[in-house]
């Protein structure tokens, strides 16, 4: 145990290290959520045959869950970009309490939103891959191959964003407890 003098108003060095780690984790989450939003929003596959009555084009806004996923991912990536400012503030002044609590609150809300969007999209992707013969929902992935691959891949980025957000919440909590 370090027997140094009790210094008032001086930040424990661990808090600054936590703030720096926070600042490095946020861009990872930004990249993940932004990439998944873009990958999902640019889906557009048209099958090479057509008939008068049936549509043979698949886009993300054909399914409301995918629309919600794109919107939620975009909102969370915009929030994360804006919260980089908070991160920098915490590196400069590591003994702020109220702004850390606010950041934790907003991070929790963002994580909930992102996870809800990812879960909704995952449920539809699972249906699209496997179908469900008990409800007569057939698997559209068998025809729309490239649409399916793109949509499944975009989920990876948003789940990475969720994991990083959980780590950020934990870091904020640890920093708050050390003061």
């Amino acid at each position: 145990m370090k027997a140094g003098p009790l210094q008032l108003g001086v930040v424990p060095p661990a808090n600054r290290a936590i703030a720096i780690l926070d600042f490095f984790l946020r861009p990872i989450a930004i990249v993940g959520t932004l990439a998944s939003a873009i990958a999902m929003a640019t889906t557009n596959q048209t099958l090479p045959f057509f008939s008068q009555f049936i549509r043979f084009r698949a886009k993300f806004n054909d399914l409301p869950s995918f629309t919600f996923f794109v919107v939620a991912s975009s909102i969370v990536s915009a929030y994360l970009i804006l919260s980089l400012g908070f991160s920098i503030l915490h590196i400069a002044k590591s003994n702020l309490v109220n702004s850390r609590v606010l950041l934790l609150l907003l991070d929790t809300a963002a994580m909930g939103l992102l996870m809800a969007g990812s879960a909704a999209a995952t449920a539809i992707v699972q249906l699209a891959h496997k179908g469900n013969n008990k409800v007569n929902w057939f698997a559209i992935c068998q025809q729309y191959n490239s649409f399916c691959k793109r949509v499944s891949g975009s989920l990876i980025g948003s789940y990475a964003g969720v994991v990083v957000l959980i780590l950020l919440i934990l870091l904020s909590g640890v920093a708050l407890s050390r003061r």
């Binding site: 609150l105 909704a120 469900n132 929902w137 057939f138 959980i166 708050l176």
Partner: protein, 212 residues
């Protein structure tokens, strides 16, 4: 000079309470001026007071969360509707295990309910020791993970419930709610209860943040 008294305020830091504080305290480095450094003194009693109140609210929220998560799991698990007619080729029975999203929903909500029950003792410890931070941080981390799990279950089931209510003409998926009315009501109620437990878990995370 007789009769003059001066009161000395002694602030007990958490380190002193644990017996780990250094023996001598020096003023902040570089104080070459003889000006007295004003120190804000917060009596330790009121700090513990508001934390204790928050910890009590924490336990109350946990009990409410058990109720909602358990309610969601039971509502989903007790779905079993058979339509009163039949043919050779079509299924006229709907139950939660026909759709994997609902099975996951049931399991995840059961996990959340049992997690909340198991963390009630830790919460009670936090009431008894309002200035302890380690159990608070651990609880906050696990609460965050549970928010993620419950949100994923609720979001996935909500997406399937939406499809069941509205169908999707672009993918040729019919809306089954028009036939399976009772099944649909139960699964919709279960999703609502699960989102309520998500809100309660988020409130628990924020409470932990305030009392850290």
């Amino acid at each position: 000079m007789e009769g003059e008294t001066s009161a000395v305020n002694i602030v007990e830091t958490p380190k002193e309470r644990k017996g780990k504080a250094p023996l001598l305290a020096a003023p902040p480095g570089g104080s070459s001026s003889s000006k007295a450094v004003p120190v804000v003194v917060k009596p330790a009693a009121t700090k513990g007071g508001y934390r204790r109140g928050l910890a009590v609210f924490d336990v109350v929220l946990r009990i409410a969360g058990v109720a909602t998560a358990l309610g969601a799991a039971i509502a989903m698990g007790s779905t079993d509707q058979t339509l009163p007619f039949f043919t050779q080729f079509f299924q006229f029975k709907a139950s939660y295990d026909d759709l994997p999203a609902f099975t996951f929903f049931l399991i995840a909500n059961a996990i959340t309910a049992s997690y909340l029950v198991l963390t009630i003792p830790i919460s009670i410890v936090c009431i008894l020791r309002p200035n302890a931070t380690k159990p608070r941080v651990i609880l906050m981390f696990f609460d965050t993970v549970m928010v993620a799990l419950t949100t994923s279950a609720a979001g996935g089931a909500a997406s399937i419930v939406y499809l069941a209510h509205n169908g999707n003409s672009d993918a040729n998926w019919p809306a089954i709610c028009q036939q399976f009315n009772d099944f649909c009501q139960k699964i919709s109620g279960a999703v609502v209860a699960s989102f309520l437990s998500v809100v309660i878990l988020m409130a628990l995370v924020v409470l932990s943040a305030f009392s850290l």
